[in-house]
Structures are given as structure tokens and as C-alpha cells.
Amino acid sequence: MTLDELIELCKKQQATAQGELYKRYNRILFAICLRYSPNYTEAEDNLQDAFITILKKVEQYNGKGSFEGWMKRITVNTVLQKYRKQRTFEIVDEGQIEDEAEVEIESEEIPLDFLLKIVQELPDRYRLVFSMYVMDGYQHKEIAEMLGISDGTSKSNLARARMILKNKIEDYNATK
């Protein structure tokens, strides 16, 4: 079955097609959820919510742009809705950190689950901004709009996230 046929059947809410769609995309979408969520369990909850939204809104998909991209956006939005309102533990004056600071560390083989773990441990807002900017290619302006914050806050959140991650990786390297 082609993707287009599958989409058509999903628009008719046909159960088998819905199952097939899930089978094809659950792993990719779950990876997104893992990056945006604070832990594995919440990532699963978010995948569930996101996929239900996808199945409910599939009628609105008009064929413009890739279907995968459309599903990813819905997934990201679903997660954002959940975490953007939760208060970030704001530490210091956010404006003082340089925006585009290149953070470089000594790179060794760092296991993926460690990287995932330290991303998940970031405060909600830092995690969202970092995932959106670094891994999903959103611009600060878009991020600011989607999270309801200023461009400056987005940049400063990103810089802080980088610093936290860098420290954790360095600690990890040191213990090796």
C-alpha cells in the first residue's frame, strides 16, 4: 500500500490503516518524544497523545509538504503544549549569556542513552529550546513564537542548555 492510499484510508478512520500508519512511524515519532520529554514514561504518554491528534486531524492534511514532516510537527506541538506552560526554574538573569557561543568539548565516544539522559534532565524550557533549535532546525524567532517567549529568552535558554550539557559531558568524560 502506498503512503497516499494509507492516508486516504486513515482519513476514512479505517482501523487497519490506522494500525499500519502507527507501525510505520511510531519509532521515528517516539524518538522525537524522547528528546522533548523529561523521561521515558512521559515520552510514551506524549507519543500516545500526538498520534491520536494525528489520526483525528489527518483529514486536515492537504498533501502539501511531506506527510512525515506534518506528523513530526504535530508531535512537537503536542509536546510543546504540555511543557511550555510549566514554569522553568529560572536561575539568573537570562540576558547575560552570549547568544551564539560556540561550545566545544572534547569528543569521545559518548553513548546515545547518556546524551538522551542529559537532554531529558534539562529544565523543561531549556530542553524544548535545545531540541527545537539544535535537532529540529527551528529558528529562534519561530521558537519564541511557539513558546510564547522573546527571541532573547530563546537564545539565552539555548546557551544555558549548551553549558549544562557541556558540563555533564565533561564530567562524564572525567569519570572514564
Partner: protein, 514 residues
Amino acid sequence: MKEKKNIDSIFNEGFKNLEATPSPRVWENIQAELKKEKKERKVIPLWIKLGGVAALIALLLTVGNSLYNSSDVVAPKITDENVEQTENQLQENKPEIEKQAEDSQVASEEKTNQNTTSENLDATEDTSSKNKGETKSSTNKFNNSSKKTTNSVIASNNSENNSSKIKDNTKKGGLETNTSEKNVRESMATTKGSDSEKGNIENNVNEANKDFINKDKLFDTKTETGIVNENSEKNIVKTEEEILQESKNKKSIFDAIAEKDEEIVSEKKKNEKPEHRWNVAPNVAPVYYSSLGNGSSIDPSFADNPQDGDVNMSYGVQVSYAVSKRLSIRTGVNNVDLGYSTTGIEVGTGPVAVALKSVDYGSRQVVVTVADKGSFASAAPSDDFGNITPKSTQGDAELIQNINYYEVPIELKYAVIDSRFGVNVIGGLSTLFLGNNEVSVKADNFNTVLGDANNLSTVSFSTNVGLGLDYKLSKKFTFNIEPMFKYQLNPYTDSSVNFKPYFMGVYSGLSFKF
């Protein structure tokens, strides 16, 4: 070996091709959620629709009713009040009239040259009493004329009294009284005329109005008399009072005209309003079930098989409410049996896994199933059909689906021709609640029920159009015959079934109005 690396690229590269498998629990939850929503979605529209229907009926019964009856209810009240008022006034005036009449008689005896006037007065008094009688005999419509007559009596009496002082003026007044009386008589005649022709009130509206205009004139005359009286120094105060009274009475006459108009309007409306609003009609109909699409509701493989609708029965009772003489809204409940058969099949027994998907076989493992003719013979042993043992049947085997619905229609009926023989157009919607249903196989030597179909909606809808012919046997009983076409909107839960069923029925019955 260590090298400096941008932290972004570490994560970017690391997560680029990240895929992870969530636990199966996630998909189970999604399915459960979707099912729940489907159920909710099913339930909500039904409530909305039924609620809507209930609201519509309630609206029609309350707003519609008051709209059509309001003028009937309110108008007579006003009229009654006025009759009372008028009667009271009449009684109040009575002693005065009599007294003044006596006075005037005395006066006329004394002054022989006033004969004409007193004669007129007597006549006026007669008219007045006559009129009174009429008013009391509950002919509400023209009660005001009697009042006016009374007033004219008062007026003429006044002029009489005054005449003892100023003869010339009195004569003038007398003459005017004559004119007034004439007017009164004229109007009386017309009034009586319109009374006797109650049925043709419409025709008399203009005439009646003319009467009122005449009466107005009469008052003008009277006022003139009053003015004449003013000349006499003696009666100034009294006359003024009378003028006041007159002006009061005048007001009530305008009211009366307005009332009369209202009454006539309501009378007109009454004529348009049906005598009996409610109607109950038991009915029975042969119904023919068929499909507009060429698919099969049982299995897609039967789409090209010959399929025939069966003729079954529908029976029930309908209640209708006449909104106006031509338009009525009706509902009720009907038991509808529908059925259709598929031929060109063969029958066999085999494991439930390879049997018909749309049939709920229950917990049985080896079941009777049906396939296109020739499927079993051509099937390889490894094939699904290879596990089925064909049954030899005599004659053509038929696969029969029987469905039973409880139908609750809500329909509007409009009378195009409304005489002894009536022609109506009918349109509406039915809610169909699924009753029993079964899929069975029938051949000459074999007959068995496979099970229930599992793809039928428990609640579905149909759009109905039809023609209603009726013959009025008596005022209360009508014989109806209504060919109806009903197209089902969502009979199957699986919308991919290209089976678009409809049913046609010729509903006949006897309806009773109350």
C-alpha cells in the same frame, strides 16, 4: 584520540537517526482512546438530533400554538370587558334617560308645538331599549351602537329641556335630533343586517365600518346640539359634563372599531385554522428493500452476484399535529422488517477463520459459510477455501439477510390539494434503531442461520420523501395511502461497504382526528 567538537553536532549526529520502540501499551491505549471517541461521537449526534427533534416539537406546540391562538384568546376578553362596561354605562344612564324622557314628555305636553320632537324622542327611546335587549342577548359586536343611541337620547332630551327656554334653539335641536335618530335607525338596520349575516362578516366589514362612521357623524351632530345648548345660560354646567361624557364615549367607540377589526381578523384566522389538530393513524405497508450501490453488505466478493430485495412488512402508528390547515408535523413508531437475498453462491462448512467476516458466528469454531459459486472447487488445499468442505445443495442456494428496525420518523406533510380527496407531499427523517438481524442460507434441502451481521449500525437514519393520497370518509376518519421512499444514511458501520440501501413502502391506514 581526542578532538574538539561542537556540542550541537554531537547531539545532532547522535540523534539524527535515532529510532526507538515504545512499549505496545502505547498502541493499545491509542486504540482504546479511538474506540471511546467513536462511541462518544455516535452517542452525541443522536442526542443532539433527538434533542433537536424534541425541541422542534416543543417549539411548535408552544410558540406555534400561541402564535395561532393568541388573537383568539385575547380578543374575546377585551370584548367581554367592553360589553360589561357598556352595559354598566347603559344601566347608569338608564335612570337619567328615563327621567329625561319623562321630562321631555311633560315638556312636550305643555308645549304642543314641540310634538315632533317628543315623538322622535319616544322613537329614540324605543330604539334604545331595543338595542339594549340586543346587547344583552350577547351580540357583543354592535353593543356600542346602543350606547350611542342612549347618548343621542340624552342629547335630544337636553335639547328638549333647553327648548323650554330658547324655543328657536330647541327647534333646531329637535331637527338635529331627528337627523340623529334617522342616522341611528339607519345604522341599526345595517347593524341588524350584519348580525343576521354573521357568517359573512367579511363582506360586512365595510358596511359595519360605515355604520361606525355614521355614528361618529351622529356625535358631531350631538356635539353641535351641545354647543347650541351652551347658549342657554341655565344648562352650561350640565352640557359641559355631557360633552365630557360624550368625548369619553367617543373614545370607547374608536376602541370598539379597533376591536371589531381585531375580531374580524381573528374570525378570519379561525376559518384558516383546522378544526382538529391531532390525528392518529395506524398504518401497515409492504416494504421493498434494495440498494443503489452494487456492493454487498455481507462480503465484497458478492458484489457482482445477483441480489434481490425482498418484500416484507412494516406496521406502526403515527401521530400528527396540524400546524395549519395544510401543514402538519408527524411522528410515530414503526416496526420495519427488511430483507434481501444473494444468489449465485455455494455453501460449505469450515473453520471460523475462513468464514464470512461480516457474520458474528459466536463461539462456534466450525461453521457454515458461503462463497461465490465455484470458489471451493477451484481452491488449492493450501488456500483459505481449501479448508472448507462443500455442501451439496439442491436447487439454487440463497444467502438471505434479514434486518429488523424500529423506525421513529419525524416528517412534515403539506396538503397540495385539500378537499374530500387530498394530495399531500411528505418529507422528513427517520431514526432507525436496529432490532434483530440475521444472515441465513436457504436451499431446497437445506436451511440454516449463520449468525448476526456484525457490521450494522445500531442507530442509523434515513431521509424520507413520499406522496400522500387521502380520502375523507367522514369529518373524523380519513383513509390514507402513502407511497414512501426512504434512503438509509449510515446503515453500516464500515463505510467502505458500497451498499447503499433504501426501502420503499406503500403505507395505508385509517386516520382518526381528535
